[in-house]
Amino acid sequence: MGRLKRTHLVEAVLFLLIVAVFYAFSFEFNQPIEIYRFGATVWPRVVIGLLLIATLGNLWYQYRHGSASQGTIGQSDDEADYSEPGTIPRMIAVLLTPFIFAWLLKPVGIYFSAPFFIAAVIWLFGERRWSAILLITALIYFIFIGLFLVILNAPLPQGNMSPFYDFSAWILTMNAKLQGL
C-alpha cells in the first residue's frame, strides 16, 4: 500500500468514476458536425483522457509520498481535521442546510424561509445565545429586505405554495405601499 491512506483511495475512485461516467455519456452526443472534423466529442474526451492520466499520476504520487506537499505556489489551505468529537455530524448539517434552503425556495419562497435559514446558520456556527441569534437574524433579514426589495426591487423567488406564497405577496404589497405605487 506504500503511503496510501483510505482517503487517497476514495479520492482516486471518485475521480475514476467521474472519468467513466463522462466517457460513457459522451456516446450520447457522438455525432459528426459537418463543418468540424473533430465533432462534439473530441474535446471532452481529450479532457477526460488527461484527467485519467492526472488521476493515476496523483495516485502514484500518493503511493510514494502520501499527503506531502510538492512545493507548488500559492497554496494556503491546510488539511481537513475531523478529529474533534461531533465535527462530522455538525459538518454534515452545515453542508446540507443550505441545500435544503435552496430546495425550499421554489415552494416556500425566500421571504418566508430566509429567517429560519439565517438562524440555523448562526446556530450551526456555534452561537448558542438565543437573544443574539434572534437579534442578528432580524438584522440580516432587514438588510436583505431593505437592499434587494425596497432599494433595488429585485425579483426574488416568492414560492408557489399557500400560505407561503400569500406571505410573499403580503411583503410585496407592503413594499409597494411603502413606495407609494
Partner: protein, 496 residues
C-alpha cells in the same frame, strides 16, 4: 485626444443626473465588489433592465464605471476573507489572505487600492490614446489560434499555482474544463451532458459556480474550523504599505500593466487570465519564489495591477470590434442594444460623444478608487471585527440572491450550493479552486477558438504553430508546465 477627453469630461460633469449616475456606479461597484457573497455582476444584472430608461451614454458609462470599481472591490473580500469578489481577484487571495492571517491586512488592502488605481489609470490612458490602432493591430495579428494559445498558457499557469501537488493542480484545471463541456458544444450546438435537464442546455452559469466555489466553500471551511476548535479570527491591522515598499515593486507594477493590458485587449480573455498570468510572471521573475503564497506583497501587487489594467483594455475589443471580453462587458453589449446601438467600428463615427464620456468616466472612476479607497479602507477593515458566525449567514443570503438574480432560476442556487460542497471537499484535499474556476471560464473559449483555428489552417498543426504569436505562447505555456513539474518533482525527491 486631449480635446476629446475634455469634451467627455465636460459632458460627464456638466449634467447633475449624469454625475449622480457616475457616483452611484463608483460606490455601487465598490460596495458590491467588497461585500462577500455578491459581486459587481450581481449589481449589473439587477441594474440591466433599468438602463433602458437612461440615456445611452449614461447606461454604458454606468456599466464601465461598475466594471472598474467592482474589480477593485473584489480584492477586499479576497484579502480579508479569502473570498474573491470576482474570478479576477482569485490570485489576489493567494498572498492577500495569508497577509491578513499574519496581521498585515492593512498593508495588503492599501497595496490593492494603490495598484488597482495605477493599473486602471494607466490602462484608461492607453485606451484613450490608442483604441483604434490597437484594435487594428489585434484584428491583423490575433486570431483564434492565438487566443487558444493564450488560453493554454493561462491554464498552464493556473495549474502550477494554488494546489498541494502538481498533479492536483492539473486535476483542478481539468475538472474545470470538464464542467465547461456541460451544455451545447460551441461549434455545432449539440447538447452535451445535460442529463435530461433542459436548464443545463445553456451550460453551468458562471456566477453561481464561482460564488459556490469561492464564497460558499470558504464558509464551509470556516465552519469546519469552528467545529474542530481550530478557528482563528483574522488579525486587524491598519498599517499601510510605505512608499518605499511600493517603489521597490515598480518593475512588478510595470510588468503587470503590460500583461494586464495585453490579456484585456484579447476578446473573450479578460481580466481573470490577466491576473493569473501576472501572478505567474511575478513568481517566474522572483528570486524568492518560495515566499509566494505565504503573504508576499508582490503577489497582491501583481494580481491587482493586472486585473485593473485589463478593464480599460477590455473596452477596446468591445467598443472597436463589438466583442465582449467577459460577463460584464457582455451585459454592456445588451445596454447598447437596448438603445438600438451596436458596439463596433461604426460607434466611433456615429456616437463619438458616448465613447468619450465612457472613456472619461473610466479614467475618473480609477482615480476615485485611490481617493475613496484610501479614505474608506480603514472602515472596510473593520469588517474583520464582525464575528464569523454573524457574517456567514449574511454572505450566504447575499450569495443566494447573487446566484438567483442573473437568470431567475432556483437551479442556479442549487448549483451554487453544490459547487460550494464540492469546492469545500476539494479544497480540504489540496485541490486548487482558482484552477477549477479558470478551467470553467476558459474551457468553452478554448474549445471554440481551437476549433475555429483548426478550421482556419485546414487541420494542419504545422501551419497552426507557424503563426509567431501563437508559437511563442504555446512554447511559453509548455515551458511553464515543464518548469512547474521539474520544481515539484525536485522538491518531492528532496523530501524522500
Amino acid at each position: 485626444m486631449i480635446d476629446n477627453f475634455l469634451a467627455g469630461s465636460a459632458a460627464l460633469f456638466g449634467d447633475p443626473f449624469t454625475i449622480g449616475v457616475f457616483i452611484f456606479g463608483v460606490i455601487g461597484g465598490m460596495l458590491f465588489g467588497a461585500i462577500p457573497g455578491v459581486s459587481m455582476l450581481t449589481l449589473a444584472a439587477i441594474l440591466l433592465p433599468f438602463t433602458a430608461s437612461l440615456e445611452p451614454a449614461q447606461g454604458v458609462m454606468l456599466f464601465a464605471v461598475i466594471y472598474c470599481t467592482g474589480t477593485y472591490g473584489g480584492a477586499i473580500t479576497a484579502i480579508l476573507f479569502n473570498i474573491p469578489g470576482a474570478p479576477e481577484n482569485a490570485p489576489t487571495a493567494f498572498d492577500g489572505y495569508p497577509m491578513t492571517q499574519n496581521g498585515e491586512s492593512g498593508k495588503a488592502v492599501g497595496a490593492a487600492v494603490l495598484c488597482s488605481a495605477i493599473g486602471g489609470v494607466a490602462s484608461a490612458l492607453i485606451m484613450m490614446a490608442a483604441t483604434e490602432p490597437l484594435a487594428n493591430w489585434a484584428i491583423r495579428n490575433i486570431g483564434p489560434p492565438e487566443i487558444f494559445a493564450l488560453v493554454f498558457f493561462g491554464l498552464a499557469v493556473a495549474s502550477s499555482v494554488g494546489a498541494r501537488t502538481i498533479w492536483k493542480g492539473w486535476m483542478s484545471v481539468l475538472i474545470g474544463l470538464l464542467i465547461a463541456t456541460i451544455g451545447q458544444d460551441p461549434v455545432g450546438g449539440i447538447n452535451r451532458y445535460n442529463f435530461g435537464l433542459t436548464d443545463l442546455a445553456a451550460g453551468i452559469a458562471f456566477v453561481p459556480a464561482i460564488l459556490g466555489f469561492f464564497a460558499v466553500s470558504e464558509i464551509f471551511v470556516q465552519a469546519e474550523k469552528k467545529a474542530s476548535g481550530k478557528y482563528k479570527a483574522p488579525k486587524l491591522s491598519m498599517t499601510f504599505p510605505t512608499w518605499l515598499e511600493l517603489w521597490m515593486h515598480k518593475l512588478a507594477v510595470l510588468r503587470s500593466i503590460l500583461v494586464g493590458f495585453f490579456c484585456g485587449i484579447l476578446p473573450g480573455i479578460g481580466a481573470t487570465l490577466a491576473a493569473f498570468m501576472s501572478y505567474g510572471e511575478a513568481v517566474r521573475w522572483s528570486k524568492n519564489r518560495e515566499e509566494f503564497g505565504k503573504g508576499k506583497l508582490e503577489g497582491v501587487i501583481s494580481a491587482e495591477t493586472a486585473n485593473n489594467a485589463a478593464t480599460g483594455a477590455a473596452m477596446i475589443p468591445l467598443l472597436a470590434l463589438g466583442l465582449p471580453g467577459g460577463a460584464l462587458t457582455a451585459m454592456m453589449v445588451a445596454v447598447f442594444q437596448m438603445h438600438d446601438l451596436q458596439p463596433g467600428p461604426l460607434v466611433f463615427m456615429l456616437s463619438p460623444d458616448l465613447i468619450w464620456i465612457v472613456f472619461a468616466a473610466m479614467f475618473y472612476a480609477n482615480l476615485s478608487i485611490l481617493i475613496i479607497g484610501l479614505v474608506e479602507t480603514k472602515t472596510i477593515l473593520n469588517l474583520l471585527k464582525i464575528p464569523f458566525q454573524f457574517l456567514a449567514p449574511l454572505i450566504l443570503m447575499l450569495a443566494t440572491v447573487g446566484a438567483y438574480i442573473s437568470r431567475g432560476l432556483v437551479l442556479d442556487v442549487m448549483v451554487m450550493f453544490l459547487a460550494g460542497i464540492i469546492g469545500y471537499l476539494l479544497r480540504r484535499s489540496g485541490f486548487s479552486i482558482p484552477g477549477i474556476v479558470l478551467g470553467l471560464i476558459l474551457g468553452k473559449i478554448g474549445e471554440q477558438n481551437f476549433a475555429q483555428g483548426m478550421q482556419m489552417v485546414h487541420y494542419d498543426l504545422g501551419a497552426y504553430l507557424s503563426r509567431p504569436i501563437c508559437a511563442i505562447l504555446i512554447v511559453l505555456g509548455t515551458l511553464t508546465l515543464l518548469s512547474s513539474a521539474y520544481r515539484a518533482f525536485a522538491t518531492s525527491q528532496k523530501s524522500v
